[in-house]
């Protein structure tokens, strides 16, 4: 297993290299010019050109790419064109809010979606199943920002229970941290709760028709034991797969959620960097996200071995 994990980690290197080349090329050919944004609306074309030269953006593609790769190999993601701060510092500043939001969303999603899916499968065809599936369709259909606005209106403005926006670092206390994350996590989690609930239901329906479940029932095992110990474990592989994919999709969802709830995370950093053409920041974030994606896939593969002992690498 350890050798498998090491092999997979080594295999991420060429993936990252391809991503790096792809992202750099894409940004190079993309329209837009950070120098023009920096110079402001009143700047003359000559000023814009001088700024472009000062930033080294007038150099040939290969030289720019080579210099960037050289820095990356030395552990330096570069410096933001706009803030003049190291990209690694900017990412570090934003990592905690995004990871917190994703973790909270994931916990909420699993705690709500899996039991819902199991219950829906157990009560398949009943009003309870239909209600849960109706909720799932609703969760799929409604955009994250709409859920966000509704939650903010009800729980922040109307009931005044929770704050509308912002993020408090965990170091400043668990409660303030939690309070700021509840609404965004619920908003972001809606679609994933719906997705995972449906997948869990489908996987469970298949498992519940297996002979061993009938045998368990015949043995007189309790319903909870059949559902959550025997059936769920055997239905877990597709559920884990979807949770894994969901983590990757959460990154995209976090961009919108962080904007709606003004959370200073990587999603907002990405949007700001793209709008301003802050190339080093975009490149740094994409590399990080690519690495996270590969890592999550690896974790999913490893998790398979835990839920299904037949799987071995």
């Amino acid at each position: 297993m350890i050798s498998y994990i090491l092999r997979r980690i080594v295999a991420t290197m060429p993936v990252m290299a391809v991503v790096a080349l792809f992202v750099f090329s894409l940004l190079y050919i993309a329209p837009g010019d950070p120098a023009a944004v920096i110079a402001g609306d009143q700047a003359s074309p000559a000023d814009v050109e001088r700024i472009r030269q000062a930033l080294g953006l007038d150099r040939p593609f290969l030289i720019q790419f080579g210099s960037w790769v050289w820095r990356i190999l030395h552990g330096d993601l570069g410096t933001s064109i706009f803030t003049n701060l190291p990209v690694s510092s900017l990412i570090a500043q934003r990592l905690e809010p995004t990871l917190s939001l994703m973790a909270m969303t994931l916990v909420l999603t699993i705690l709500i979606a899996v039991p819902l899916g199991v219950v829906a499968a157990w009560k398949a065809g009943t009003w309870l199943d239909r209600t849960i599936m109706a909720f799932a369709v609703f969760g799929f259909s409604i955009p994250v920002f709409v859920v966000g606005y509704i939650l903010a209106y009800v729980f922040a403005l109307h009931l005044e229970w929770l704050p509308v926006q912002g993020y408090t670092p965990l170091a400043e206390g668990f409660w303030p941290w939690l309070v700021n994350l509840i609404l965004p996590a619920v908003a972001l989690g809606c679609v994933y709760i719906a997705l995972i609930a449906r997948i869990t239901r489908a996987a469970m329906l298949e498992v519940l028709q297996q002979d061993y479940v009938r045998t368990a029932r015949a043995k007189g095992l309790g319903q909870n034991s059949i559902l959550f110990i025997h059936a769920l474990k055997n239905a877990a592989v597709p559920i884990v797969t979807v949770i894994g994919i969901g983590i990757a999709l959460l990154i995209g969802g976090a961009v919108v959620t962080e904007s709606v709830f003004a959370i200073p995370g990587l999603g907002r950093l990405t949007i700001d960097a793209i709008l301003r053409r802050d190339y080093p920041v975009i490149q740094g974030i994409v590399l990080l996200f690519s690495f996270l994606y590969v890592l999550v896939n690896l974790m999913v593969d490893v998790t398979y071995t835990l839920v299904d002992p037949r799987i071995r690498y």
């Binding site: 329209p31 023009a36 005044e160 668990f174 200073p264």
Partner: protein
């Protein structure tokens, strides 16, 4: 048990459970009253007001760096860091003396050498600074408190140049910082203004913090815009960047922030209904909407095609698209200068007044030789002001029978594409939309957009010798009457040559909670004189 008690109870239980990890943040009433939470118009992405000339940078910089002069609410430059100035009879030598007690945030005194280095850096980037630099003999420190600017020819607008609020302002920095290449960013943020920048708390895109500079010695005069005594009544100002307007509105209503610089018109009715919130016009100098045509390529290289658009365009359509039905927020602008300011004129503005005449516009367009070639109209969709204007223009062009190549893109792309002089089919453009702060359009001083100096002109590169002649006449004017006369002629010439198309004058609101007082109307948010109760 009410909600707050319940939440505190939960927090208390949590605190016990986590041995101190679970606790509510506690600000005393006094501390809350000394901290102002402000939602700025945009993200403070960089903090060098000479290198980056965005308004948001200027607004933050005005707290941290002081200026030699400051423009007051009557649009007159007043002494700020300067104690006195002398100009020789021939107008060639300006000698300035700094007022006593000026200190930088690192404790060092402000000296003439700092001023000289700062002005040298500023004059590379600022249009007025460039004019002075072009006629400069020498800029030198005479002693620690005196410096001298010797010119080859008189420059009557010297104090305006040093005190204007259009970007980049002539902010004074320590010599070591001011020696940075003006096309590269400074690495530290030490000023001599009333607030210090807390670099350690800066999260670009999310938060910027400013703390009161206890050694700042304000002038004794009453504060008026960038002039007078900058008395800070708040110890700490937190800029909270909230990109989503609906979230910013909710945060203001919820008391999570105290002041929102620029609420969008759609949300203003909601804010006005809230008894805890005050809403008022932010800046009486407002903004001027505009679209620019490329004077280098057909069809707009022919003045008849440009005039055709002025003949047909309805400023009311543009303004209603921008600010909705609130008629207090806009007015027609048959000219280029900011309404209700001393130099405002409608000279030559008939083409923008009265009933719009599409038939006459079509006739002019035909005379220009336009034959259905596509007109590339580049419109930034991520800026509400440009998007709304772009939609109206597209409709206008279609009504005039023009073939519109509508390029919906983002502001970053517009920024680079508009600099392209190549023909539209090869990456260039024929039209783009923008807007100008009214503060920049009170005179030709910082008004690049009205210049007609061809290759050196702003994007669109109009050439108009008449316009340039009148700009020079304004710079050389010695009295207000001379200035007014020059601007009248300039306005007329700029309309005749259609330097650009003004789409109207519009205002915006600002909103703050009623426990905040002292919010002044002006071209930027002024934090001196602002106080807050818990």
């Amino acid at each position: 048990m009410d909600r707050r008690t319940l939440l505190k109870g939960i927090a208390g239980v949590g605190s016990l459970a986590a041995t101190g990890g679970l606790s509510m943040p506690a600000l005393s009433q006094g501390a809350a009253a000394r901290t102002l939470r402000f939602v700025p118009q945009a993200n403070l992405a960089n903090f060098d007001p000479i290198w980056g000339t965005q308004y948001v940078v200027r607004n933050a910089a005005a707290m941290v760096w002081d200026t030699l002069y400051g423009l007051d609410a009557t649009l007159q430059p007043q002494r700020q860091m300067v104690e006195s100035e002398e100009v020789t009879d021939d107008g060639l030598t300006w000698t300035f003396r700094l007022r006593p007690g000026l200190k930088f945030h690192d404790g060092e005194p402000v000296l003439s050498k700092d001023v000289v280095a700062s002005l040298a850096r500023w004059s590379v980037r600022d249009p007025m600074g460039q004019m002075i630099k072009a006629i400069q003999n020498e800029l030198t420190a005479v002693d620690d408190k005196t410096f001298k600017w010797v010119l080859k020819q008189p420059y009557p607008k010297m104090m305006l140049a040093l005190g204007k609020n259009s970007t980049p302002c002539a902010f004074i920095m320590p010599e070591r910082m001011a020696q940075t290449d003006p096309f590269k960013q400074i690495a530290e943020y030490i000023g001599s203004g009333p607030m210090k920048f807390a670099k350690g708390e800066w999260v670009p895109g999310a938060k910027a913090v400013f703390e009161k500079f206890s050694d700042y010695v304000p002038r004794q005069e009453k504060a008026s815009w960038l002039a007078g005594g900058k008395q800070m009544l708040i110890d700490r100002i937190e800029w909270v960047v909230i990109p989503d307007p609906a979230t910013a509105a909710a945060a203001l209503q919820n008391g999570e922030v105290d002041w929102w610089e620029n609420p969008i018109p759609d949300l203003v009715p909601v804010l006005k209904k809230n008894r805890n919130i005050s809403v008022d016009i932010a800046d009486p100098l407002g903004n001027i909407g505009a679209f620019r045509m490329n004077h280098l390529h057909p069809p707009f290289n022919d003045v008849r095609a440009r005039r055709a658009l002025l003949t047909a365009l309805s400023q009311e359509d543009y303004m209603r698209a921008l600010v909705g039905d609130d008629t207090a927020l806009w007015k027609p602008l048959p000219g280029f200068f900011t309404p209700d300011t001393p130099l405002y004129t409608e000279e030559g503005g008939e083409i923008l007044k009265g009933k719009r005449d599409i038939a006459a516009a079509k006739k002019l367009l035909a005379e220009s030789g336009y034959t259905d070639q596509p007109v590339t109209c580049v419109v930034a969709q991520d800026q509400p002001i440009t998007k709304a204007q772009g939609d109206v223009t597209a409709d206008l062009l279609k009504k005039m029978g023009m073939n519109v190549d509508f390029v919906a893109t983002d502001w970053g792309t517009v920024g680079s594409r508009r600099a392209q002089k190549t023909p539209p089919g090869q990456g260039g453009w024929q039209m783009f939309h923008t807007w100008h702060a009214g503060a920049d359009c009170i005179s030709p001083a910082a008004y690049n957009a009205i210049r007609g100096n061809g290759d050196k002109a702003w994007f669109g590169w109009p050439t108009s010798t008449t316009v340039e002649k009148e700009v020079t006449a304004w710079f050389e004017a010695k009295t207000l009457d001379e200035e007014k006369a020059a601007v009248k002629r300039l306005n007329k010439a700029a309309l005749e040559d259609v330097i650009y198309a003004p789409t109207g004058f519009f205002l915006s609101y600002t909103a703050w909670r009623k426990n905040v007082s002292g919010v002044a109307k002006g071209p930027l948010p002024f934090f001196w004189g602002v106080s807050k109760t818990a």
